[in-house]
Symmetry: C2
Subunit: 321 residues, 2 copies
């Protein structure tokens, strides 16, 4: 289902000779949330935005997942407002994929939805990330690393130390596969499947990495174009350069997940081409197919205090230690 201003979508489909594609349908929405719209506008004024209409389709069960390339803050706010959070989830999180040296994704969360986190929030992020990777990559017990400034238990700030205690307790109960602390370089080494951090750190690391990536690309391009001999070398070795670019291409890792909501919402980068968009849709499809929502709901339910649930009640108490 393609959601948006119907005429625009029809015109685009016609251009691609797909106007009558049997597996495409159009859901009209008269408004669009722009990249500059304040949350206020996205939430209260544009009630017929493509974003809102698409998320409503998820809420109503007409769609099993929503994929959007729009304003991330608005997407999270509207999703949260329309879908609400899963019981036991204090705050939804954004989980993105980063290429690593093992030619696999490192899943990192949170990526900016939560800037001041308490241990129980990071704890929930770990469980939700673990559920996501088990659904998308069919790994029953993916490894979880806690982003810190050293591997030793004594390192880090108070929030991280208390989170580590919660995750170790989960590990002992068999709820997740906690590797321990990881450092910044482990993200790209692929030491763990999942890296958990607060939204401030995650956002800064992601943007710094994107910035360094652009810097490397522009410096390398400039050198290869600096004189005819270098250009010749680059032409001869173009296979290597293409293969390198493909390996570093973030499009392959497109499709961040908004986790903790009562519905599946995925975020594509705004500037993606068809290849990148395909990956975001594929991830949403896999999440629906492998019932990500049920996995997260179950994982979080394990933590909630319940009658007779002595062990389940133990984890939140550990925060006060």
């Amino acid at each position: 289902m393609l959601v948006g201003p119907e005429e625009l979508i029809r015109a685009e489909l016609a251009r691609h000779r797909a106007a009558d594609h049997p597996r495409l349908s159009i859901i009209n929405a008269t408004e669009v949330v722009t990249m500059d719209d304040p949350l206020e506008v996205a939430l209260r004024r544009k009630k017929d935005s493509s974003m809102r209409v698409a998320i409503n389709l998820v809420k109503d069960g007409a769609a099993q997942a929503c994929v959007s390339a729009g304003n991330t803050g608005a997407l999270m706010a509207v999703s949260r407002y329309v879908l609400k959070t899963i019981p036991g989830v204090d705050r939804p999180a954004i989980c993105t994929l980063i290429p690593n040296q093992k030619d696999a994704p490192t899943y990192m969360l949170d990526l900016g939805a939560n800037v001041d986190c308490e241990p129980q929030h990071l704890h929930q992020f770990a469980l939700m990330g673990s559920a996501l990777v088990s659904a998308l990559d069919e790994k029953p017990m993916p490894t979880v690393g806690l982003l810190n400034i050293g591997e030793e238990d004594i390192k880090g700030n108070e929030v991280v130390k208390q989170t580590a205690a919660l995750l170790r307790a989960d590990h002992e109960r068999g709820l997740l596969n906690f590797y321990g602390n990881v450092e910044g370089n482990d993200i790209f080494k692929g030491t763990t499947d999942i890296v958990v951090c607060d939204g401030f750190v995650g956002n800064v690391v992601l943007k710094a990495s994107e910035g360094l990536g652009r810097f490397v690309k522009s410096a390398l391009t400039a050198e290869f174009k600096s004189n005819p001999l270098n250009m010749l070398g680059a032409i001869i070795a173009r296979g290597a350069i293409k293969s390198f670019s493909r390996r570093m291409n973030p499009s392959r890792y497109n499709g961040a997940s908004l986790l903790g909501l009562r519905g599946l919402v995925f975020k594509s980068h705004g500037g993606e081409d068809a290849y990148g968009f395909e990956w975001a849709i594929k991830r949403a499809y896999e999440a629906a197919k492998h019932d990500l929502l049920a996995r997260i709901t179950t994982a979080i339910a394990e933590l909630m205090p319940q009658e007779g649930g002595v062990q389940a009640a133990a984890a939140p108490n550990a925060v006060q230690n």
Copy 2:
């Protein structure tokens, strides 16, 4: 002055035919702080370590600066214990240099000495970083950016928002050149001369960047070696590859500063060659030559409440707003 076990130093100097160099002297120290030594051992047990003896030379005025490639945590702890902090500085910080797209360094602090920062700490880091860049690069008013998850004033966590208010007040008083919020990618764009953040974020970003750098290098090398045609291209374009490597070479940016102490201490990466070490020594030399200590002392003194100093007292109050 070369500080360490005398026999080892003499043997190395002989190997390099510099045993009688008129501008080299040897100061014996019988112990060495290892990379694994707990701070406790560095501080209380190894009182004749090369690190301790070298820092004592700075304290006694025999040396104007100390350059060490040793254990960073121990270097900071011993420096702080021996030299003490400058009046008004709550916590010393570590400031490192990162290459940016403008082929200049971005100075970033703190890099791991302080994991839980209050606004007044980040405020002091900004002033100390500004003093450092003015001394090393002879820029009278270097630009200061506050690392955040967006450029707008409303973005970020509470600590960052309150810090921004303090820095804006300094800017209005002409104490520093506050650019405003910067994001992770700005570090590599070189948007500001200085980027201020807490030690947790700084450490994670630095290690993530180093990790991504190694990933890019290994992936690129592997592609160029993947078949004879690619190897041929790489040989023809070797000028471009060398120039690119030189530009990305972190050795040129070697020499982090321990700021806020009553003495100059610089930290070299452990694995540096002569070229990298030269840069660390050069930075220590420039800092001494341009009287970095006096610059920091003056900058911090401006902030301290004093009789009749209405404006000076205003900044700390802003924290409570």
